[in-house]
Every structure is written in C-alpha cells, then in structure tokens.
C-alpha cells in the first residue's frame, strides 16, 4: 500500500503537476491563437513573440517595482506588474492591427497572405524584444519558492518519496482557471462576447444583424493581448524568460490549438492539456514509479523512457499529424467560438 502511495507521489511530482501547469500555459497560448483564427481567420505566427513581448513588459515593470521596494508578500511581484504588461501589449496589438493587418482585412486578402504578414510582425517583435531586453536568460521571480517543498512533504507524511509544489505552478494553475472562467463568462454571457461568437460562426449573417466588425476585431485583439501576456509571464515565471524560447513554444501552442480544433476555445484547452500530458509522459523516465508498483524481481534496469526529452517537439508533432489524418477538424470541431 505504502508502495502505491509512494508511486503516486512520485508520479504527481514528476508528471502530474508539471504537466498540469505546462498544459495550463499551453492552453492560454492556444486560446489566443484560436480566437484570432476564429475571428480574423488566419494563423497568427507572431503569437509566440506577442507572448514574449507581454512577458518582457511585465518583467520591466517588475524590476521597477522591485527597485521601489514594492513586493507582493509571498507571491511574485510579477503578478502585480502583469496588468501593466497587459496594457502595453494591448497597445502593441492595436497598433499592429491598425497599421498592418487592417489594410489586408479591408482588401479581403487570402488567409495565407495574412500568415505571411504575421511572419513580418513576428520578425519585428522578435527583434524588438531582443533589442530591449537582450537575448539572455532573465530571472524575475521572487517571493516564496515553494507552496510545499520535498522536505516539508516528507516530514508531513512520512513517505519515502517527496513532493514539491512550486509557487509558480500553483499560481499558473489558479490563474489559468480564473482566466478561463472569465473568458467563457465573457463569450457566453455578455453582449460583446455573443457578437464575437456570432461573427466567428457566420460573418455575413453577423454583419447583417448590425454587428460592428471593427469593434469585434478590436475586442478580440484586446483579449488576445491579455491571454498572450498572462501565458508568457506564467511560462517565464515557471521556467525562465528567454526570447527565443517563445518561438519554439509556437509549435506546441499551434499543435494544441489544432488538436482541439482551430476556432474552438474549449478545444484549445483540451488540446493544451493533451499536448502537455503526452509530452511529459512520453519523455518521462518511468523507472522510479515502476519500481514501486511492480514486484521487486520485475524491477526494470533501464530508465523506461520512451523517448529522450530532446524529442518533445516530436511528440506534439506526431499527435498533431495523427489528429489531422484521422479527425482533420480537431477534437472539438463544430463548437465554434
């Protein structure tokens, strides 16, 4: 019995908790991608760098607060700075929409042209972030490091296996839940949210019923800016902030959005967790868990790792391909924004 508890604790420590917090970050990123796809109808390649930009603004404000001596008690100061980061990112996306995307929208350009345009925006944002904060690793988390640390957990339960629950992981999960609830409340209950869903379902019909498309687009960009900043900051808090990481994050984020079904917010969340869990589970060395569960004589002498961690891209990619081949519209097709 104790062995099973130990196995479960090891599993939670190395698989469940990291996968849930990573999944929450991916889901927030994928929500942004899916909203843009639903309303503006193109895949926004600049999304990863929008996340980087938002996180960078938050970091700059965090440093300012830290220099003023403002802190948020046991929680990271970055949470206090996040609203300012969101405002800055909102300004940025409205600027790019007004001076870049709007022109092509009015021309009714093909989606692939908008994708190429977003490549240009991606270059600029990537350069801008590196220009302002540099290409290096930035640490900005402060406050308590752990909600519960390995030693505390062992003392508390007397188990052999320890469980560490980082503050950043807790914050990620709580924030993601709040944001998702707020987003769904907005989309389902408010007038603007309903007009967004109508616009995404059927553009012409929505226009006929008097919905102002520019307003819908603007609100979408504002929400996307907030989502991107939150996702970027949480990822930066949990791992660390490196500008080029966000370009690499683009692949799992897109995979999550597509696996869930592009344009479907519920799908984006499901996709985010699908990708995160598969990545972590397939690249985790199961030896530790297995030794507790199976009889001693069966204990594996290898790591029982299906793939090395360097291949986590491959995991999100393979899932993406399987879903595209067998269910091209994703898991949650038909349920639009």
């Amino acid at each position: 019995m104790i062995d099973f508890l130990n196995a479960f604790v090891a599993l939670s420590n190395f698989v469940l908790i990291p996968a849930i917090s990573y999944g929450a970050q991916l889901a927030l990123g994928a929500l942004g991608v899916t909203l843009i796809y639903g309303i503006l109808r193109f895949s926004n390649f600049a999304h990863g760098d929008t996340m980087a930009f938002g996180a960078m603004c938050t970091i700059l404000v965090t440093w300012l607060f830290q220099s003023w001596g403002i802190s948020f008690g046991p929680l990271p100061t970055a949470l206090l700075a996040m609203p300012f980061g969101i405002l800055a990112t909102m300004g940025l996306v409205l600027f790019t929409d007004r001076y870049v995307y709007k022109f092509y929208r009015e021309q009714k350009a093909k989606p692939v042209i908008l994708v190429i345009v977003s490549l240009g925006v991606m270059f600029i944002l990537n350069g801008l972030v590196r220009f302002i904060i540099g290409p290096n690793d930035q640490r900005f988390s402060d406050g308590e490091r752990f909600i519960i640390s390995v030693r505390e957990f062992k003392a508390l339960t007397g188990l052999k296996e320890g469980l560490a629950f980082k503050t950043t992981q807790g914050i990620t999960i709580v924030t993601a839940v709040i944001v998702v609830i707020a987003l769904f409340w907005f989309l389902n209950r408010t007038r603007t949210g309903k007009s967004m869903r109508a616009y995404s379902d059927n553009e012409d019909l929505a226009l006929l019923s008097g919905i102002n498309p520019e307003r819908v687009v603007m609100v979408t960009w504002l929400i996307v800016a907030a989502l991107a900043t939150i996702a970027g900051t949480l990822y930066g808090l949990d791992k660390s902030f490196k500008p080029f990481i966000f370009l690499q994050l683009l692949l799992p984020v897109f995979a999550a959005a597509i696996v869930g079904g592009l344009g479907s917010p519920l799908g984006a969340i499901a996709g985010g967790f699908t990708i995160a869990f598969s990545e972590v589970m397939i690249t985790y060395a199961w030896k530790k868990v297995a030794t507790y569960v199976v009889p001693e004589s069966w204990a594996p002498d290898t790591l029982v790792q299906l793939l090395s961690t360097d291949y986590k891209f491959a995991v999100s990619f393979v899932i993406l391909i399987i879903v595209l081949l067998f269910r091209p519209t994703g898991l949650f097709a038909g349920k639009s924004v």
């Binding site: 895949s43 240009g120 991606m122 600029i124 350069g127 220009f131 540099g134 995979a255 491959a314």
Partner: protein, 434 residues
C-alpha cells in the same frame, strides 16, 4: 522602361552594393557575401518553386537545408574505423525494422475492416515493433558512440569526393520531402505550415541528438573541400609569385582565391538550376502548376491530379533547398546542428522570395542576393547609425551603452520591416511574375 532594362539595373545595383562593400570593408567580406548570396539565391529558387509555382506554404526549409548538410558528412567524411563492425549492421537493421513496423501498421490500417480488432492489431504491431527496435538500436548506438568519442563516435561517411554530396543532399532532402508530402500535403495551407515547421524542428532535434549519425552537437569539423587549402597555397612558390605580380600578399591572395573557386562552383550550380527552373516555368508543366495554384478546383475539374502535382513540386523544391544546404556545409567546412535557427534558415528565405518577387525565378535570385547583403550589412550600418544617435550622450550613460550593445538585434527588426513594406506597397515583389 522594358523589363530586361529594369532587371539589368536591379542586378547591376546589387553587384554595385557588393563591390562597394569590397572597397569600404574588405574584399574578404564582399566575397563572403557573394558566396552566401549564391547559396541564398538557390534556396530562394527552391522556395519559389513551391510557393511561386504551386502556392505551397512550406515553413520547414531549415530542415531540408540541414539534411543537405548531413548528406555532406555522410558522403564525404571517411568511415570511422571499427564503427560499422561494432554496430553499423544493427543500427541499419533496427532502422529497417522500425520502418517495417510503420509500414505494417499502415497496411493493417488500410486492409483490415474498421473496428476494435483493427485498433488492437495496429496498436499491438506498433508497440511490439517499438520495443524490438529500441532493443536492437540502443546497444548498437552505445557501441558506436564509444569509439573514440572525442574525435569520432559516429559511423562516419563514405569517403567520396565532396562534390558528390551536393546531389546527394538534394536526394536526401527529396526522400524526406516525399515522406512528409505523402502525409501532410492535402492539408489546408495553415496546417501544412505548422506541419512543415514541426518537421524541420524534428529534423534538427534528430541531428542534434543522434550522435552515431553526425556526432550531434559535438559537430563534425574538417570536412573535405573541393578547393585547395589556404596554407598549401601560401607555401606554393608559383602561387606566391602570381599573387605578388598582381600586388597582393600571399595570405590575402590565398583566402580570396579559395573564395573565388567556391564562387565559381556555386555559380555553375545556380545557373544550371536557374535554367532548369526557367524551362520548367515556361513549359506546359509550369502552366499547369500555375493553373493549379490559381484555382485548384478548376484544375481538378480539367482532370489534373492536384495532390500528385503538389507532391511532385514539394519534393523538387525541397531537393533544391537540400542542394543549397549541402553547398553551405561544404563552404563552412563543418556541420554544426546547433546553429540552425528557423529565423535565419526558414523565414529569411521567405523574405528573399517575397521581396524578390514570388513566381519569378529571376526575382528570387535577386531577392536572395539583396536580402543576404542586407542581412550581413545591417549590423555595421546599424552601429554607424547608433554611434550617430548616441553622439550627444555622455560615455557610460546606460542608454548609450544599451543602444550600442543592441545593434546586433537590428537585423530581425529590419527584415520584418522590409517584409511588411514590400507586402504593403509592392506585394508582387521587385521583379513581378509576368
């Protein structure tokens, strides 16, 4: 102004830019730009085949370029003594077995009737195949990587002349492109983009981690060269005499001469590929491709096999990128998987094609040279600009230091700006499609 006059002016302009670089900076830099410009032009030709001819949105160029580089190692490096005996056969056997597993699963999937039985058997074949593959593969890889890990630790290559690696690189890229195209083509353009982006990251991950294949991040250095070594030239009496006769010292002359040899070789490849691409564009096949690009449904209604044609041009374009990749690795003289970045090897090539003029081979070549020149020269130009901007600030002021330090990142900013400006004000590029 006729088209040919305008095109001549454009190319003369780019040539002038490179020559000015030669005078202002150094001829070494100018030739460096020329060589990489030639390679970039070939990559742009490849992407133009896919995007300009057929409208395929491939953002996995980096992967095919890297495969070309890998081919250079596999073809030209000498085989590592003992490595094949140690584990070569097992590794190859394991790979064949892995492929057979996938093929078996696909056959079961298509031949059996849908239902629980099919799901179980497909799953079973995959799981058993995977573990047998790992069981055979892992120990063999361990044995290979144990052989003098500081210097080799990989299978090595065939020891053939390095020029053979260029077509081989194209072939390797073509084979992989065929596999990818079989699965991913036919998806919507956005999906194809994400799929190719993923594939290229996976190719790089494989090259970084499979040490038995190409030493991974330990890099393969000292690849054989098609040109003589500078050191040999510098000790060659006849060469020194000729160099002095032209007014150069031996060291400068040898580096320039080697670069010129490369430039000559690259020019030959570029001209061959350009003529072929041009012939293809103006052939019935090229017209069919453009018809498919402009209206897939109409072309299909006319009896054209759209998926097969897409696969064909995807493979061809990727092969051209593979050739360029092999040439680049040959020029570098080393394979460094860690240096492949999507911004540099995928998206920059896209900027070249769009700026030059998609659908026009001449435009892509022009874009390749022009954007490459800009990519290299933004940094020195940016530092001049920043010195000017910060002229009035006192030394040691944080903003001055920061601005001067960040000059290196002006590149990406400039490329994005160029791309957006061209897309907005001249969406068909410098030399538009006719």
């Amino acid at each position: 102004m006729s088209d040919s006059v305008r095109n001549t002016i454009y190319f003369a302009g780019v040539a002038l830019l490179i020559i000015i670089t030669g005078f202002v900076q150094s001829w070494n830099t100018a030739l460096f730009i020329l060589n990489f410009g030639l390679i970039s032009a070939i990559m742009a030709l490849g992407v133009n085949l896919q995007w300009g001819f057929a409208g395929l949105f491939n953002v996995g160029i980096m992967g095919f370029v890297a495969l070309g580089g890998l081919a250079t190692v596999l073809v030209s490096m000498p085989a590592t003594p003992g490595a094949w005996q140690a584990g070569g056969a097992s590794v190859i056997g394991a790979l064949v077995l892995g492929a057979a597993t996938v093929v078996a699963a696909v056959i079961l999937m298509t031949k059996m009737k849908a239902g629980k039985l099919r799901s179980f058997s497909v799953f079973g074949v995959l799981v058993v195949g995977f573990f047998v593959y790992r069981g055979l593969f892992d120990p063999a890889v361990g044995l290979i990587e144990e052989i003098d890990p500081a210097a080799t630790g990989y299978l090595g290559g065939l020891g053939l002349p390095v020029l053979l690696a260029w077509p081989a690189g194209g072939l390797l890229a073509a084979v992989v492109a065929w596999l990818i195209g079989k699965t991913a083509l036919g998806l919507r353009s956005d999906y194809l983009a994400i799929a190719t982006l993923g594939i290229s990251e996976i190719i790089i991950a494989v090259m970084k981690n499979e040490d038995w294949l190409g030493r991974g991040v330990k890099n393969v250095v000292g690849l054989p060269r098609p040109a003589p070594y500078e050191v040999d030239l510098q000790s060659n009496a006849a060469f020194i005499e000729r160099a002095n006769g032209l007014g150069f010292d031996a060291v400068t002359a040898s580096t320039l001469w080697v670069k010129l040899i490369y430039a000559g070789l690259f020019t030959v490849v570029l001209v061959i590929l350009f003529v072929m691409a041009q012939r293809a564009l103006h052939s019935p096949w090229g017209r069919m491709m453009r018809a498919i690009r402009d209206n897939e449904f109409a072309a299909e209604a006319m009896g054209k096999n759209v998926t097969a044609r897409h696969l064909q041009i995807f493979v061809l374009g990727s092969a051209v990128c593979g050739i360029a990749g092999a040439m680049m690795t040959t020029l570098d003289g080393q394979l460094t998987p860690g240096t492949y970045q999507p911004l540099r090897f995928t998206f920059l090539v896209w900027v070249m094609v769009i700026v030059g003029g998609s659908g026009n081979n001449l435009g892509s070549v022009l874009g390749g040279f022009l954007i490459w020149w800009l990519w290299v020269m933004v940094e020195p130009m940016g530092s001049v600009l920043m010195n000017f901007v910060t002229y009035g600030m006192t030394d040691g002021y944080w903003l001055k230091d920061h601005l001067l330090e960040s000059v290196a990142h002006m590149r990406l900013l400039t490329m994005g700006l160029v791309l957006l400006l061209v897309l907005r004000f001249s969406p068909r590029g410098l030399i538009p499609e006719k």
